[in-house]
């Protein structure tokens, strides 16, 4: 059923208009129509507005019932009170799915209006997203049915991360920053009030979705914990990491969430228990949600087998910072075997450090292949489960040289490699965007890099334990 929404072949936009709103801007439906056209949707588009006959060169119909085509998805962009009648039309027309954008329902103290909307949808057999949502985007399908300002970005990167959000504004922010980081996305859904379809329904769908490998969620509260738990279990069985930020640590935020979408925030401890059981990766800082999901997307086939990390950097200082972060997050920095240290001695100046962390010193630049040989040697050690490449201050063209050797090393190994680039980004203006385009995970602090590696290890251990259970 969600196929009709996420892979819609035809979209009706109810409320698109040539007229401006009170402050001279485009009406919500027109905003949505413009974004849909701008992002190159290949399906059929039908504006609906009884007061217009044409908009953006497309024939405009008085009602969805007048459209001479089957409609997979109706984007309902009229005020809250008018939405119920449009939903009835959708039912009469046999529209399969809808997105109700308007706010002014239960979140605004109008539960009866929301109940009327639900009743109309149910009577007509329409499944819907919202109300009080920014809509959805199927990035892989070039289908932008969304009013978030993030859609002003010229394009979204296609990829395998699906994103579910209970806050359209925060979700839009995250899609935007994730897109800037060259994360690749399959679908993005602002779930709104979840009057019909809930986070758990989308999660259940995405667990089967061939375009989705990683699922990221911004969660305020769970409406049906059992359904949600079942969906998490399904994603776990599919080996698709679910990365979650959940609000509601404080009474204030719980109250805010309740007034925002009407969702109950629920117990943190219960939520944590569900996460542990199903390998859900819960991030503490909202700003980590997308970077963590992106790292999973890039390294899901290279999860670390164990906690032993190789640290390679050009300074004792940055090596020490990263070693401390490993200690903090429960990763180990074992001394390398003597033979490996002997090998490294050929590449690294005498005042460097060979044990691990490996301080290649700034002087390694005087050796043409010393850096590459060092990285390869460390990655080849059986005892090493993953590698951090640490960078301090480096400018172009050396920065682009780092980009090339880091990319080559990361691609040539089946172990996870994460970069922590702590120097001024303006001096590496070519290299850093290129590393992102090359899909090599890069963080701008040692802590971020280490925390991400720890999340990969936790998920690997979850998968391993799951396989053991399945064997029994």
């Amino acid at each position: 059923m969600l196929d009709a929404m996420i892979r819609a072949r035809s979209v009706a936009i109810v409320g698109a208009s040539q007229k401006k709103n009170e402050v001279g801007g485009d009406k919500l439906g027109t905003v949505a129509l413009n974004y849909l056209l701008a992002h190159g949707y290949a399906g059929k588009v039908y504006p609906v507005n009884p007061k217009e006959t044409e908009i953006r060169g497309l024939t405009c119909y008085p009602s969805v019932t007048d459209i001479p085509d089957d409609i997979d998805l109706a984007l309902i962009a009229v005020p809250a009170k008018a939405s119920v009648a449009v939903m009835k039309d959708c039912g009469a027309k046999g529209v399969k799915t809808a997105i109700v954008l308007a706010s002014g329902f239960s979140e605004a103290g109008e539960p009866q209006l929301e109940a009327d909307l639900i009743a109309a949808a149910k009577a007509g057999g329409v499944r819907f997203c919202g109300p009080n949502t920014n809509g959805m985007i199927s990035i892989v399908g070039d289908m932008v049915c969304c009013t978030s300002m993030v859609c002003a970005m010229p394009r979204f990167n296609k990829g395998d991360i699906a994103f579910l959000t209970q806050s359209g504004a925060v979700g839009g922010s995250m899609l935007g920053t994730g897109n800037e980081e060259q994360g690749g996305f399959s679908h993005w859904i602002s779930v709104g009030n979840e009057a019909d379809l809930q986070v758990a329904d989308y999660l259940d769908y995405l667990a089967d979705d061939p375009d989705t490998k990683v699922i990221a969620m911004f969660i305020e509260g769970i409406r049906d914990p059992d359904k949600f738990t079942r969906a998490c279990a399904k994603a776990a069985r599919a080996g698709k990491p679910v990365v979650v930020y959940k609000i509601g640590l404080s009474d204030v935020s719980a109250a805010a969430a309740a007034s925002h979408t009407g969702a109950m925030v629920g117990s943190n401890a219960v939520f944590d228990a569900v996460c542990r059981k199903y390998g859900v990766v819960r991030v503490e800082d909202a700003a980590d949600l997308l970077p963590t999901a992106i790292t999973f997307s890039r390294l899901l086939d290279k999860l670390p087998k164990g906690p032993n990390m190789g640290l390679i950097g050009p300074s004792g200082g940055i090596c020490g910072v990263c070693a401390d972060e490993c200690h903090r997050f429960g990763l180990d920095v074992p001394e390398l075997p003597q033979a490996a240290q002997e090998t490294l001695k050929q590449f690294i100046p005498p005042f460097g450090a060979l044990r691990n962390p490996i301080d290649v010193t700034q002087q390694i630049r005087s050796s043409p292949t010393g850096y590459q040989d060092t990285i390869r040697t460390v990655l080849e050690q059986d005892m090493i489960d993953g590698v951090f490449l640490l960078v301090t201050m480096v400018g172009e063209p050396r920065a682009s040289f780092y980009c090339d050797i880091f990319t080559e090393a990361a691609r040539a190994t089946d172990k996870p490699v994460i970069i922590a680039w702590t120097g001024a980004q303006s001096l590496a203006a070519q290299a850093i965007p290129q590393i992102k385009r090359n899909q090599i995970p890069i963080y701008f602090s040692a802590r971020g890099a280490v925390r991400a590696m720890r999340a990969l290890l936790d998920y690997r251990r979850f998968l391993d334990a799951r396989d053991v259970e399945a064997d029994q």
Copy 2:
């Protein structure tokens, strides 16, 4: 005595050369000379090299003893073994201070060579920085005596933050990123092996330095704890916040630090106790060091009187995230007085939230002065000690409008205002750099903003307690 180094009127650069090194690059002394000239040093510059007569248009002298002028600072850029003889020359000449760049002393298993260097300096009455250092930069004095690649940045912003680092590479990174964030700096010193001058000596000097208001330090270990403690006490009496990142949480990093500069890392607990006693702000994440110091520099005269925060954002989601972070870091988000809520009702759409956090909703953009009036109203409440301005997704030109009203509001109040901008930065390409140039603290996560406010509150409480003690 440190005046002669940090405010040197004449600099000798020993080891500058027209010749290239083995791999075709500039020699260390030449790198230093080039940076010194590029950054516009107004004092006198004397290259020293027995094999040259002229370099970069400047007369080159065979030895420092041949320079026909008093020398405040000698930058010694010759190999380790040759440094001792140069130091003797400096003593003979009456050079007041020196920086010894070379590595290859105690950190490389050559303690005798370091002892010889110390003896030569002591015999000649020369105080020195290093060895094994990247040098120093007096940003307010346009004096770059430094070989860090960070000096490739076209200019450093002048300001009141002094930076001491036991890692030249990490310190260079941080100066670079801090400069990109429009932090303003007074001086930057890579202390190296501290064979003579120690962190505590510089800290003692900076506590009196009229150009310095905030002191940031990257620390691996403290050589003379008593002297360090006295310097912290002096900075505390001067009301100058000292912001520190200290390595050494793990055995591995402690070992790395010991091999790096020979410093003992010491006990974390003891270091924490010193921090508490003297109001030293210790950051947990190395990446927070410079942003925290910059925020102190900007808000030192607007420290929060108490923990009560006003949260203003365009979405329930981001308000909830920030409320959770306040809860995590021990800040309060009290309900606003009824009268204030009545006032806010005039500006904010009915589906917003007035209690605090204040969800102005995306619709507030339809009201020309609603945002300004909301911020002003919250700041005017006696009960509110500081304000977070939260941003999700916003593009230009609206982003620049935010920049203008945020700047105006922050400047008009004596309370701290910190921005958390969580939306895609590429859509606010004018606004975000402008906010930084306007010196308004901006973070790209709610957590970062809240953590910084908490540090400000802690320091305020430290100052208040200190004043009470002084009263008794």
